[in-house]
């Protein structure tokens, strides 16, 4: 648990938010959030871009039939659905485990201090 003590070497004019922002707990929460959402966003955007480029510049490949009338393009398109659902599920699990408990502790710290 972080300790907020305005008199401990900081000017008394700093706000509670600045004090919390400076705590190791908050820095840890921010790092955990960014470490997940930035690489994941880059990954799904690149995967989507790959799909768009394949559809534009490799139509013959995308129209290749795999089984019956099911084409490569249809399968990759459906995989975009699968990856979207999967990333959603993984993020919810990560947020529940690693983000929510930390955010909750900090919120109580701030709002408890308010009154």
């Amino acid at each position: 648990m972080a300790h907020i003590d305005p008199s401990a070497g900081r000017p008394a004019t700093t706000t509670i938010y600045e004090q919390v922002q400076a705590t190791a707990e908050f820095q840890d929460l921010r790092r955990r959030l960014r470490r997940f959402v930035f690489p994941m966003s880059a990954a799904f955007l690149l995967w989507y871009l790959l799909y768009v480029l394949l559809a534009s510049y490799a139509p013959a490949f995308m129209a290749t039939k795999l089984a019956g009338n099911i084409t490569v393009g249809l399968v990759i398109g459906l995989l975009q659905f699968v990856s979207t659902f999967a990333i959603t599920a993984v993020y919810v699990r990560y947020a529940n485990r690693h983000l929510d408990p930390r955010a909750e502790r900090l919120r109580e710290l701030i709002e408890g201090g308010d009154g």
Binding site: M40, Y48, S56, G68, N69, F81, T88
Partner: protein, 553 residues
């Protein structure tokens, strides 16, 4: 419409009285719900954010209701029926876009803002200029989106009520009825009533689409491959507008719509960029996150929305190819019907379940337009009242009551504009207009939202350059694009002043807006970073401390 004169054009199908009857039942039920909701709509928080009292699941269903507009339902099914695989590409962009909202925007925005997108964008900036900019782009995006929905109403009226496009008075009267109903929903029910309308509509839409999908699958022994095979066999060519296009096997791969030329391919990439980055910048979607009590519920909303929207787009894949396979005359019939490609789903409903199913699907389609227009109107009116009136004009000194009064007056004005625009835009392409709204949202709003939340040095100058630069470049590129003049499918066919080769501006305007945000920030770099304000925003965004709470009842 020029296609109506052709011999192959079918007459309208179904029974207009039955269509109206089922729609009337929807209207009565939703009006009762809206009037019940109005009893608890008293404060500004009630009117704008439904007292923040909806659960994540309820809000997720309502978001799906907002998002699955007429363009999604009728437009994508129709695009798949006529252009095969290329129609499917639309739905993938629309779905993947939700990950941007889930990972980068929804929760942080819920914790930081109060009622509007402007709340977040102006949080640590100079209030008046940034709020004015946010309100401007909110109004422009909402207007394009509104235009698309009202254009959809015209197409539906032609098909379902047997009022031809040439009958301006008849169609205008029906559009006016839709507009007046929408104004009543918004005025009486506020955000709470509008949200319930979205939930009811989403449930009806999903039920109808699921039933039709199962029906089509059952006819083909639950084999997607068999549906595709029949669509290929039934549609060797597409005859539309006096031209013949080869379909057949081409329906199964990309290229029919966007693969013809090098320019068309780049145009498609431009469109894809706008679709995937636009959703998280749509003001009427962002505003929905304020109707839940916490960031965790905002997250749950997006998760529900992603599952519902994803499953719905899988339905449209079956419905689109199913319409090409089962409607007599296939893609040619659909492309030449009144309402053109938008008529694929209604025509399929008629083939499957006759007048009754058609009546149900048409009522759902009307309900969709009504609900989405209501959602757009409440967003636009909230932005004008909260950002422009209360903060820019009254310097934040307006009473909440006067703010809500201004919002209600604005809603009526927007409703009247929507009716007029709807009559004017009857023959425009719905999917295209929605794509433009996405392009403006991705260009004007998303860069500033992301910079504000994640980049400490970002400042007022950067925000203004990014919003106005993205907005202006996007709108100018649209005006000078082949979509407005100089092509056979342009809005204005008699003149040609196009200088930009692409119909979709996103490829240029979105990176430009991101760049302008950076340049503006460095140009205005002498403004010192407000450390306290940034700390407050960052801590609030990540922890939920000090965020707007649910109203207890």
């Amino acid at each position: 419409m020029d296609h109506l004169a052709q011999g192959s054009a079918p007459a309208s199908v179904g029974n207009p009285l039955l269509n109206i009857g089922i729609f009337a039942v929807f209207v009565v039920v939703t009006l009762v719900v809206v009037f019940r909701a109005s009893r608890t709509t008293k404060t500004a928080s009630d009117y704008y954010a439904a007292g923040r009292s909806f659960t994540g699941a309820q809000n997720g269903i309502a978001i799906s209701g907002d998002y699955l507009s007429a363009a999604s339902f009728l437009g994508i099914a129709g695009a798949i029926a006529v252009t095969g695989y290329d129609g499917f590409l639309y739905s993938i962009g629309f779905l993947v876009a939700w990950l941007v909202a889930l990972l980068l925007v929804a929760e942080l925005l819920r914790n930081t803002g109060k009622y509007t997108m402007g709340d977040v964008l102006s949080f640590r900036m100079r209030q008046r200029p940034v709020r004015a900019a946010a309100a401007t782009s909110t109004l422009v995006v909402s207007f394009f989106y509104l235009l698309a929905q009202m254009a959809g109403a015209g197409a539906l009226i032609a098909l379902l009520l047997k009022i031809p496009n040439t009958n301006v008075l008849g169609q205008g009267a029906v559009i006016a009825v839709v507009g007046i109903l929408m104004i009543i929903y918004v005025l009486v029910g506020g955000m709470r009533g509008t949200t319930w309308v979205q939930i009811i509509k989403a449930a009806l839409l999903l039920t109808g689409a699921a039933a039709m999908t199962l029906w089509v699958l059952a006819l083909f022994g639950f084999s997607l491959s068999a549906i595709l095979g029949q669509a290929v066999v039934a549609n060797p060519v597409l005859e539309s507008g006096g031209q013949t296009k080869e379909l057949g096997e081409k329906l199964l791969g990309p290229g029919l719509q966007y693969g013809a030329t090098a320019t068309a391919k780049i145009d498609f990439i431009s469109l894809s960029l706008a679709l995937v980055l636009g959703t998280a910048g749509l003001p009427h979607i962002l505003m929905r996150f304020y109707t839940v009590p916490s960031a965790k519920e905002a997250r749950r909303s997006v998760v529900w929305a992603i599952w519902i929207i994803g499953i719905f787009y899988l339905f449209t894949l079956v419905l689109g190819y199913g319409a090409a396979a089962l409607v007599p005359g296939g893609a040619t019939t659909i492309a030449n019907a009144p309402g053109k490609t938008n008529s694929a789903a209604p025509l399929l409903a008629y083939v499957l379940g006759g007048e009754v199913l058609l009546g149900f699907i048409s009522a759902v389609a009307f309900a969709t337009i009504l609900a989405v227009v209501a959602g757009l109107t409440i967003t636009a009116s909230a932005s004008f009242a909260h950002d422009v009136y209360a903060n820019v004009i009254k310097h934040g000194e307006a009473s909440p009551d006067s703010e809500v009064r201004v919002a209600r007056i604005t809603a009526v004005v927007i409703g009247v504009i929507a009716i007029a625009a709807g009559i004017f835009a009857r023959n425009q392409n719905i999917a295209f207009l929605v794509a433009l709204a996405f392009a403006v949202a991705a260009s004007a709003n998303l860069p500033t939202i992301l910079y504000t939340l994640f980049w400490k040095r970002f400042n007022t100058t950067g925000a203004l350059w990014s919003i106005y630069g993205g907005l202006a470049s996007c709108v100018l590129l649209i005006i000078f694009s082949p979509a407005v003049s100089g092509s056979p499918t342009a809005m204005l066919r008699d003149v040609d002043f196009h200088v930009f080769p692409l119909a979709n501006p996103g490829l240029v305007s979105i990176p430009l807006s991101f760049l302008l945000g950076v340049i503006g920030t460095y140009v205005g770099g002498r403004q010192p970073v407000d450390e306290a304000k940034f700390a407050e925003m960052e801590v609030r965004a990540l922890t939920g401390a000090g965020s707007e709470k649910a109203v207890m009842q």
